[in-house]
Symmetry: C2
DNA sequence: GCATATAAGTCAACATGACTGACTTAAAAT
DNA sequence: ATTTTAAGTCAGTCATGTTGACTTATATGC
């Protein structure tokens, strides 16, 4: 495994450096999601509900199709959690004015309360990490994760 | 949401900056795992098999208890995938010499072949991202993710 | 206006991966 | 000899993902 040089790129990466990067992502995701999972379970919800709630909160009035694109799951999978969230009064649905086939999703007051609670937990964790790592590191974190993401979805992060 | 200053910490973080950090992690994890999932499904395996294979490869001779600590799942969940991997000849088990209750796990040649294939996919993705982001960014990525991880597990990354 | 395409929802069936709690077995430690 | 530990197992449950086929309503293009 003692790789030698490989081309003009000055950035030489050993396997163990790459594995460290892989494992950091695994452990961070594991711990990042665990906290909210605990809150959600007290509502009888799971991670799938959280994802729906989260992205509806970011884009009030998002359509079902748009949400499916973000989550990359099947209509059936989303429909299960979505109809549960609507039935229990966390999410409201209204027909779009221009295209009345589209159903636009919004959080109700009850939904917003839950969303705030969950987002506070996550903002606290990432905020603490950002502060511990420092401003320079944040930019690096963003750059690397953005490059990991499929090219088609990177445009979601233009500011 | 136009927060004003908050204390002596010079690093001021707006909600939308934190949400960007949260979403980067979501999309990156989604895309990072998707590629391997496709390979695994051709073997009739899932993500859980991959995680076992991956960490056995990193620590040949790891015990079941150690693996459970890393994955933070129940014995039953691990046992299902592990016994499947052993039955199909991807993982071998031997009793520890000193403590014969402990079962030490190793990849077989067949298991190593699969592991190499999966790791190559992941190393390529993270390697490309590292190169695209640059050496400085890598350090930032590491710092932030390390701070997201539960304190008890950070020691896994001392070099 | 009619044919086609699209957005959404639904039904049935299934796989995977997580969980709990209780129990067994073997071996180590006290 | 008793207790603790490591591992495995049994039985049942739940959440979240999948597929494929079908319906309904609406929009769009000819």
């Amino acid at each position: 495994m003692t790789d030698l040089k490989s081309g003009p790129n000055p950035l030489f990466l050993r396997h163990d450096q790459l594995h460290q990067g892989i494992e950091l992502l695994f452990y961070a995701y594991r711990d990042f999601t665990a906290e909210c999972d605990a809150v959600l379970s007290t509502y009888g919800f799971g991670r799938a509900h959280h994802r729906a709630i989260y992205f509806i909160a970011r884009s009030p009035g998002i359509s079902v199709a748009e949400l499916l694109e973000i989550l990359r799951i099947t209509k059936q999978s989303l429909s299960r959690v979505l109809s549960q969230l609507v039935r229990e009064g966390f999410v409201s649905v209204e027909k779009a004015q221009t295209d009345r086939r589209r159903r636009l999703l919004r959080l109700t007051d009850k939904g917003e309360k839950l969303e705030k609670r969950l987002s506070e937990v996550q903002r606290a964790r990432i905020g603490d990490a950002y502060r511990a790592a420092g401003g320079n590191a944040i930019e690096g974190y963003r750059k690397v994760l953005l490059s990991i993401i499929d090219e088609t979805d990177r445009k979601r992060f233009v500011e």
